[in-house]
């Protein structure tokens, strides 16, 4: 945790896990994200923070090639996505799927291994064991045969997390893993993220709660269509930068309103 802002320049990890260059996405005429330049060093736990409509999810989707880019290049460990996708793990927004789909928790988690299996091959005993291991890590082992429609929101989120864990990726993208989960689940998820981070994985998390930013993440990108600031949390997470991201209306961590706010 970055307790000492003055040390922020020290020991910056040398390898760049993710390098985004000039990335622009426009759904209609208006750009959702515009000219994003971003270098994420290996081994950081990075929050992506910004107001609604800032393009946080869009950024992740564009980086993962899920939506067409208007411009820009993205490199994972120096390789384009097509050659690097086994390095990439993804946790989509929980609301993006139909939880009434006829399948079980174990089956969803096994889906995380489909990419490695490649075309045509079916998951077998080894895949089952990997999935069980991941379920144990997120504390859902007792739920493996549970129909996914019977899960609570927090359990759904942990199922998605387990599915990402079995991917055994180097760099993880998580789209709002803390959305609408209770405090216990949030803590459990943070523990898992930090454990991943300790094992040297790079983790990028779209996040909303400014109160916990400094506590959870050692690296931070403030986004509002453009990148406002990106770097160690201790350097980036300042009143000045928050005002530049959210406008003058955001209450800062100190509980007060930034200077110049209308009240």
């Amino acid at each position: 945790m970055p307790d000492h802002p003055d040390q922020s320049g020290q020991a910056a990890p040398t390898k760049i896990a993710l390098s985004v260059d000039d990335l622009t996405v426009a759904y209609q005429e208006k750009p959702a994200i515009w000219d994003i330049d971003l270098d994420v060093p290996e081994g950081v736990l990075m929050g992506i923070v910004g107001p609604n409509g800032a393009g946080k999810s869009t950024l992740i989707k564009a980086v993962l090639n899920l939506i067409p880019r208007a411009a820009g290049t993205v490199m994972f460990y120096g390789a384009p996505y097509e050659q690097a996708r086994s390095l990439v793990g993804y946790v989509p927004q929980r609301g993006s799927v139909d939880w009434d789909f006829p399948t079980t928790v174990l089956d969803v988690v096994t889906m995380g291994l489909y990419g490695k299996l490649g075309w045509f091959r079916r998951p077998g005993k080894r895949e089952r064991e990997l999935a069980l291991f991941a379920l144990e890590q997120v504390g859902l082992l007792d739920f493996l045969d549970r129909q996914i429609s019977q899960l609570s929101g927090g359990q759904q989120q942990r199922t998605f997390l387990a599915r990402a864990l079995v991917q055994d990726a180097q760099i993880y993208f998580m789209d709002e893993p803390f959305a609408a989960v209770d405090a216990v689940t949030e803590n459990a998820i943070v523990d898992i993220l930090q454990a991943l981070n300790k094992r040297g994985k790079t983790v990028l998390v779209v996040h909303h709660d400014l109160q916990t930013v400094a506590h959870y993440f050692d690296w931070l990108t403030l986004l509002n269509v453009e990148v406002i600031a990106s770097g160690p949390t201790a350097v980036v997470f300042t009143d000045e930068n928050l005002r530049r991201t959210y406008g003058g209306r955001v209450a800062t961590l100190n509980g007060g309103l930034p200077a110049g706010a209308g009240g």
């Binding site: 090639n65 996708r85 993804y90 993006s96 789909f101 006829p102 489909y114 079916r122 045969d145």
Partner: protein
């Protein structure tokens, strides 16, 4: 696939349904001979086989259409096939394979046009689908009308594509349909995990490097092929029913995709064969509507009777819940009143107890008296010995649950799904229970 030796209750039920429908299908033959005086002539056998094969295919692909919430896309696809049939007839004459190829091309063109509209305009899917559906269908009707006016005997029966006519199916048609069907099923089996992943979570599939566009296009193409094959039997207007009804019915009975698809295949085969045979009784009965009637009966039965999701089931469950809670809540009211006004066997006045819990108290009192937990005492209700024991046991159970939530982590107790109706003493291992009971107040101990 993971080999599993033990079948869960749901699995067994699924297989029982599948077996039951197959049996019903087999019984249909002697039954129809008895009731309708049906003769299973060569023609009827061909029609039945054709119906079964097409129903099976529709069930399999329709399951995916239902899960992708693209049921109405099937409707647009089948309507869009009509002009293709007409154009193919004008170009190549009445040769089924050419008609179907024409239908497929027209349907596919409709699908591409639809995607183009969706990708380039802000029209919503339903509006875009509606437009494509009527435009293509109108063109088809216009062309068919034109064809009818040509003085040439061979156009006879072309309008069967609108409502479907099983009697027109001949052996070579069934051979064609079966051959294509085998290929379609093989592709589904081969791409099973890809289809499942793309249907459940396309974003995740994309992030895993699967070419979502390609897989979607392949799945759509298979649905188009299925729809086109079924046109002669069910007709462009009702084909969508044959496509989605088996999947809808199957979804009610099962919680796994594998079983849903197998069940839908069996339902579809049943509906297709039975519908086709009934319509073959008389050349005036169009096949499409008959198949839909049978499919709809299957859907109706399924949404009514299926355990868990069925209407009947949930009604019964609600009723049982009302009864159960009426009893336990009334017991608690009586016990609480008794403790607050003396001792455990102090009777609570009838007016009072009816006042606290207006709606359900009647049922609660009736049940408790029936089970001997309470008795009438003057103008009130008194807990019997067994009633007091039950109330104590309930109170203690709730108290243990409170303590479990409070101290479960610190005592290192095993994780339980918290359902306070369960007896926690039975759910915890003896050692864990002892730890938990040590936290009880002396007054709560038995």
């Amino acid at each position: 696939m993971v080999a599993r030796l033990t079948l869960s209750a749901a699995d067994k039920r699924g297989w029982a349904i599948i077996g039951g429908i197959i049996l019903l299908g087999a019984l249909f033959i002697p039954l129809s001979q008895l009731i309708f005086d049906m003769r299973f002539t060569y023609t009827v056998r061909v029609v039945a086989l054709g119906g079964a094969v097409l129903g099976l295919l529709s069930g399999v692909l329709g399951s995916f259409a239902v899960l992708r919430q693209e049921s109405l896309l099937g409707d647009a696809l089948s309507h869009a096939a009509l002009p293709g049939v007409a154009i193919a007839f004008l170009l190549a004459g009445r040769e089924l394979s050419w008609l179907l190829i024409g239908a497929g091309i027209a349907s596919w063109a409709g699908l591409r046009f639809l995607s183009a509209i969706l990708n380039t305009t802000r029209l919503k899917q339903d509006a875009a689908m509606g437009i494509v559906l009527v435009a293509w269908f109108a063109a088809g009707i216009a062309l068919l009308t034109y064809i009818q006016s040509i003085p040439d005997a061979s156009q006879a029966g072309l309008d069967h594509f609108i409502f479907g006519q099983a009697a027109a199916i001949i052996e070579s048609d069934v051979t064609l349909v079966s051959a294509v069907g085998v290929v379609v099923l093989a592709v589904v089996a081969l791409f099973w995990k890809e289809f499942k992943l793309v249907t459940f979570d396309p974003d995740f599939a994309g992030a895993n490097g699967y070419r979502i566009g390609l897989i979607n296009a392949l799945l759509s193409a298979l649905i188009v092929v299925t729809v086109v094959l079924g046109l002669q039997l069910a007709g462009v207007i009702l084909m969508v029913g044959m496509l989605i009804a088996p999947g809808i019915a199957a979804r009610q009975w099962t919680q796994s995709l594998d079983q849903m698809v197998i069940q839908a295949a069996v339902f579809g085969a049943f509906a297709g064969a039975v519908g086709a045979v009934i319509s073959a009784l008389d050349s005036d009965i169009p096949t499409g509507p008959m198949i839909i009637v049978v499919s709809f009966l299957l859907v109706l039965l399924s949404i009514t009777l299926a355990p868990g999701r069925g209407l009947l089931w949930s009604r019964l469950r609600q009723r049982a819940n009302r009864r159960r809670f009426a009893a336990i809540n009334t017991l608690r009211d009586l016990y609480r009143y008794a403790l607050a006004h003396g001792s455990e066997d102090t009777p609570a006045p009838d007016d009072f107890i009816r006042g606290v819990r207006a709606g359900s108290v009647e049922s609660g009192l009736r049940q408790l008296r029936g089970s001997g937990h309470i008795m009438q005492a003057g103008a009130g209700w008194q807990l019997t010995e067994s009633g007091i024991a039950l109330a104590r046991q309930d109170q203690r159970n709730q108290r243990l649950w409170d303590l479990y939530r409070l101290h479960g982590d610190e005592l290192g107790l095993p994780a339980l799904p918290e359902d306070r109706q369960l007896n926690i003493a039975a759910a915890l291992p003896a050692a864990a229970l002892e730890l938990l009971e040590s936290k009880l107040e002396p007054s709560d101990r038995l």
